[in-house]
């Protein structure tokens, strides 16, 4: 495991920063910060949520208190709604999505979000892609198919919600089909499941003894 980032801060300062980030994440379900901070906050948030799976809840609560501000608001949410939401998941309660660098100082930014939340960026973006493909009458490519499966898998009432969202986004963005039909051919969409390999590279099966 890689060593945690120091974020050019002293111990107390760093701990307070991460506490602030995690409380904001648990309160609002998603935050936008620099990539390094998001990655560090992700570690802490995952740890906190996995604490809720402990059998001794009193002990877990007392442990969680040390990494959180606003105990009155967030502890009940963590041990109520979030615990219920992630009952079937073993890990991976959060997700980091990279954004374009910040305008002022060109710092790499990213979104840190709780999985299966009400306003999940990845859920909405994939729904948008599906809406576009359906509106164009094209097949859904294997990567988006995989993404949709992963998003729906543990979400309560996930498939219905996804389809509703697709219908909504069709109206929002792709109501006028002719305006974007020429612009978006599906043949240029490449997915990592079908890599564009060089012709002279040939894969051979591992020899067995």
């Amino acid at each position: 495991m890689a060593a945690p980032r120091k974020l050019s801060r002293e111990v107390k300062h760093r701990k307070a920063l991460l506490k602030n980030l995690v409380t904001a994440l648990l309160e609002h379900e998603s935050i936008t910060t620099t990539h390094a901070k998001a990655k560090e906050a992700q570690r802490l948030a995952d740890k906190l949520i996995s604490l809720t799976k402990k059998s001794d809840i009193e002990q877990a609560k007392s442990l969680a208190q040390s990494d959180i501000f606003k105990h009155g608001e967030i502890l009940p949410k963590l041990f109520g709604g979030l615990k219920e939401r992630y009952a079937n998941r073993a890990g991976g309660f959060t997700r980091v999505l990279r954004l374009e660098p910040r305008l002022g100082d060109n710092a790499p930014q990213s979104i840190l979000e709780l999985v299966d939340g009400p306003q999940e960026m990845k859920f909405w973006l994939t729904a948008r892609v599906v809406a576009r493909l359906q509106q164009q009458g094209l097949e859904i490519d294997p990567l988006t198919k995989h993404n949709v499966e992963q998003l729906i898998k543990y979400r309560q009432n996930g498939e219905v919600e996804f389809n509703q969202l697709v219908e909504r986004l069709k109206v929002e963005f792709y109501s006028n089909v002719e305006s974007f039909k020429d612009n978006l051919p599906s043949e240029h969409l490449k997915s990592p499941t079908e890599p564009n390999l060089k012709k002279y590279i040939r894969f051979v099966e591992r020899p067995t003894k």
Binding site: R98, L99, V129, R132, H188
Partner: protein, 190 residues
């Protein structure tokens, strides 16, 4: 004797040195009491006149001085010993790490079709989705209680705020705020 007489005669014939004028400097007595009335006013006028005189003297001094002021500044401050040559300067400014780099990790946004970095989100699409969330949040909010008032009463109770030019300028964000440019469309292969 004749010599001495002669010498005296020659002396009398020599040109005379001009007579130096007598030195006349009047030093004011500081202990002498000022007899005039309204001493405060006078002192003010005196200081003013003194200032003006000083200014005049300084101005004249500038004109009269043979050495311009800039020379002294140059001599007293630290300056580079030699001019940095063109190649040296260009080498410093355009070292490999400071140049613009080519982006090879470009991709296509699956929802809008414009160029984006691979493994990154398309900022345009993200911003559009966020704007939807913002409108949703506005709609779900309850409308604040509105008081029913006459026009006259409203003017009295809420007279409004006068905005300064600076505040107006701040509100006009389109003119001064840096905005992210939309990425280019991908040119289709023909």
């Amino acid at each position: 004797m004749s010599l001495s007489i002669g010498s005296l005669g020659t002396l009398s014939r020599l040109p005379r040195l001009p007579v130096l004028p007598e030195i006349q400097i009047v030093i004011p007595n500081p202990f002498q009491k000022q007899s005039n009335s309204t001493p405060t006013n006078q002192s003010k006028t005196q200081t003013k006149s003194l200032k003006e005189k000083l200014q005049e003297v300084l101005d004249n001094a500038k004109e009269l001085s043979l050495i311009p002021n800039g020379v002294w500044e140059g001599l007293l401050r630290a300056v580079p010993k030699k001019k940095v040559s063109h190649s040296r300067k260009r080498n410093r400014q355009l070292t490999g790490s400071k140049q613009l780099k080519l982006l090879n990790n470009l991709n296509r946004c699956p929802s809008c079709g414009h160029i984006k970095r691979s493994h990154h989100l398309c900022m345009h699409c993200v911003e559009q989705i966020r704007s939807i969330w913002r409108t949703d949040a506005k709609e779900s909010k309850q409308e604040p209680y509105k008081q029913e008032l006459n026009d006259q009463d409203r003017k009295l109770i809420y007279p409004g705020k006068k905005e300064s030019d600076y505040e107006k300028m701040l509100k006009d964000k389109k003119n001064w705020l840096e905005r992210r440019q939309r990425t280019f469309e991908l040119n289709r292969r023909r």
